[in-house]
Amino acid sequence: MKGKLFLVLLAAAWLGTTPGNAAKVRVVATLTDLADLTRNVGGEFVEVRSLATGIEDTHGVPMKPSFVPLLNRADLIVLVGFDCEHAFLPALLEASKNPRILVGQPGYVDCSKGIAPVDVPKSTDHSEGDVHPYGNPHYLLDPVLAKTAVQNICAALVAIAPEHAADFTKNRDAYLAKLDAKIAGWQAELAPFKGTKFVSYHEHWPYFAARFGLVYYGTIELKPGVDPTPRHIEHLIASMKADHVPLVVREPQFPEKVPALIARDAGAKLVKLPIMPGGVPNTETYVAELDYIVHTIADALRQ
């Protein structure tokens, strides 16, 4: 009897699972916003881990070998898509040796499905920097498009655990309703600043700007992934002055020195905005992150 118990425990350890977790859908999300959306839809029926903690660059999550066992056992990998995770995810998936979550498999949940990308490059030549060949991947900063991601996540969960379909659908509808209410509030808060121009370090904000009626003026980076040259900084400051651009956005993972210099010389306000939940304190959920972004912009422009 003791021998059998030992064998069962050994098998459980071998599989790396505990009986309590066995029934849950094991989800690994690349970024914290997707992890939060998945938790809201999956509820008690999912176990969600995020590769990013929230403070990383969305393209620069370190490729830690400790991620490999997580991915090896995952039922689903939930990703942004549009090549957002190109710098770390393909190699991690290769190392994870989990055929269920490879590209094209049901466990590979590309949340960009159904989203029309903006800024799709006409050429993927590297003279344009580290371009995203399928278009700008930062659509999750638009809460309306995030609803499409919620639906993609829900569809994947329903497909892999149809016995919980009613719960997933109910959770999804409740979360979408909550987002709708928040979206109305965010739009009302930013409505007075319609047409306001702003710049940021990396091209994170075209979807956000379009949603809330702001004008995305340009980036501090010379090209995606290429640091600014002195000439580019000079031209940017001059044109910001001429066009009365009042706001400079710095994403926390980029150094403050150059954005601060540009804001000072162009006479603009400098704000630090997270690009995913956890990017700055008290933004641990997607809604809290968007709350923070909208309030910070509105406060800066009111002054």
């Binding site: 350890a13 071998w14 599989l15 790396g16 990013a52 903690t53 403070i55 990383e56 660059d57 620069g60 370190p62 490729m63 830690k64 070998p65 400790s66 490999v68 066992p69 090896n72 056992r73 393909p90 190699a91 991690l92 290769e94 190392a95 994870s96 040796k97 989990n98 055929p99 490879l102 590209v103 094209g104 499905k113 159904g114 029309a116 990308p117 799709v120 993927t124 590297h126 920097g129 580290d130 060949p133 399928y134 638009d142 309306v144 498009l145 609803k147 499409t148 639906q151 569809a155 659908t169 709708d180 979206i183 949603r211 992934g225 290429v226 640091d227 926390p252 993972q253 980029f254 150094p255």
Partner: protein, 477 residues
């Protein structure tokens, strides 16, 4: 009979005529009645149609209103949303949406799973100045100023089928000794992608997994030159023609186990570019590696591994040359290694700030046949040589473009452990972008007198660039 028949027919005709006449006299009244009935029917149908049209228009208006709201909110129709009316609109929208999705998906052409392989090219040019010539340094390169294209590498990778991927790396480079250009297939391998049990099988020509930097291409080393211990004990990159299996241990802790067998390993055969080179089964190389990883903190990481290589009946890699005769012939090759890498990779700004300390220690315990006719110098052993070698480097990155570091390496000759070489190499790297990099390195090399070689100083300027796709995957992390 005929008369009866005639009377019958006549009676029938008369009756028929009478009925016809009677019908003719009732025609106007019947027509009016039927007309009224038709009119009534028509009116009823008209009313029904009007009601139906009104119902349909109302339903469509409701649908249009709902769609307008969705468009205003940017929301795709919920797949489970109930239809507002028995109408085809939701189906048409879904069909259109699917078509658009298909067009978007069709644009995604650069994944290795597409028909065309991902192709890239790497160019690497090294300019140098050496204080002494190769007669004093034992190096392949001459003294004084020197410039050469060390590596011109064409690589391609693609999925072979749903079960495997494949890649090829062809390399053209200047021969270090003669300056003549050579062309060879560095790698041409197939790797499974869907074996059960967390296993991966690699077969063909590939870089066998031994140590830490043995299977890294020259242009991706963190410094200009391959450490001497790897150059001497492995023979450069750990290229092998054979098969290798890797197992990811199913545990919470990352543990990777690898075992391989091949008819060559590194530079251990006379003509490494000859794919048909024959080696008996008893002369194959066997190697293995175990590695693991620890998160020391969120930002600090430790990777460690042990490796082993054994060839029970190796080919001669060229022993000491004395008096025109080869003094040693390698009989058995045994190599063990221990490596670790400690990294500081800050989560927030690792593109701009990082630190790495990497070390690899190798122990060579090869056996040799000593030619009794050769004039062998007194080297203090009788055919089994135990030698140690290591390299250790630290590198710090302080911006997206700039990093600098220091490499120390030392090695005892695999044939004579009294013959020691030490090298000290500070280096600085400037990365214009991900694909374009310059590196300046100074190396002072110190050699024990037993080799007859002399110390020298060298300065290297390396320029490496990439066009197209280029990724060596997980091993290059």
């Amino acid at each position: 009979m005929k008369l009866k028949h005639l009377l019958g027919v006549s009676s029938a005709l008369c009756l028929g005529a009478a009925v016809a006449q009677a019908q003719e006299t009732n025609k106007p009244a019947d027509f009016d009645q039927r007309l009224q009935q038709m009119q009534k029917m028509f009116e009823q149908r008209e009313q029904a149609l009007e009601a139906r049209f009104a119902e349909k228009i109302a339903a469509q208006e409701a649908e249009i209103d709902a769609l307008k709201k969705q468009v205003a909110g940017g929301v795709n129709p919920l797949p489970t949303a109930p239809a507002a009316a028995p109408d085809q609109t939701p189906g048409l929208i879904k069909e259109l949406s699917d078509k658009v999705d298909n067009v978007v998906e069709a644009q995604k052409k650069s994944l290795p799973s597409e028909f065309n392989p991902a192709i890239g090219f790497v160019g690497e040019t090294v300019a140098s100045y050496r204080s002494k010539g190769n007669d004093a340094t034992g190096s392949d390169r001459p003294g004084g100023f020197d410039v050469w294209a060390r590596s011109l590498e064409l690589n391609a990778s693609a999925s072979v089928d749903p079960f495997a991927k494949g890649w090829v790396v062809a390399n053209a480079s200047a021969d270090a000794a003669t300056g003549e250009s050579t062309f060879g297939i560095e790698e041409a391998a197939l790797q499974t992608t869907s074996l059960p049990g967390s296993l991966t099988l690699t077969a063909g020509r590939f870089f066998g997994e031994f140590g830490r930097l043995g299977y890294i291409h020259d242009h991706e080393l963190p410094f200009v030159n391959r450490p001497q211990v790897l150059a001497q004990y492995i023979g450069g990159e750990s290229r092998s023609d054979g098969a290798q299996i890797n197992w990811l241990v199913p545990a919470d802790q990352y543990i990777s186990l690898t075992a391989g067998v091949g008819d060559s390993f590194g530079g251990d055969r006379p003509n490494p570019d000859n794919p048909g080179y024959y080696r008996p089964i008893g002369g194959l190389n066997y190697w293995g590696r175990a590695s693991t990883y620890f998160n020391l903190t969120d930002n600090w990481q430790l990777e460690a591994g042990v490796s082993g290589l054994w060839n029970p009946k190796t080919e001669d890699r060229g022993g000491l040359i004395t008096n025109g005769l080869s003094g040693f012939t390698e009989k058995e090759r045994r190599l063990a290694g221990l490596d670790w890498k400690v990294s500081y990779v800050p989560l927030r700004d690792n593109q701009f700030n990082s630190f790495t300390w990497g070390t690899e220690i190798l122990f060579s315990d090869s056996r040799y046949f000593i030619n009794p006719e050769a004039d062998i110098p007194a080297i203090g052993h009788n055919g089994t040589v135990g030698s140690l070698g290591l390299y250790s480097y630290a590198s710090y990155k302080w911006s997206r473009q700039w990093s600098a570091g220091f490499l120390f390496d030392c090695v005892q000759s695999a044939q004579n452990h009294d013959d020691e070489t030490f090298a000290y190499s500070p280096f600085v790297t400037y990365a214009l972008s991900h694909w374009n990099q310059l590196r300046l390195q100074y190396t002072h090399t110190d050699r024990r007198a037993v080799s007859g070689l002399k110390p020298d100083d060298a300065i290297y300027l390396q320029w490496a660039w990439i066009i197209g796709a280029h990724s060596h995957g997980w091993t290059q992390r």
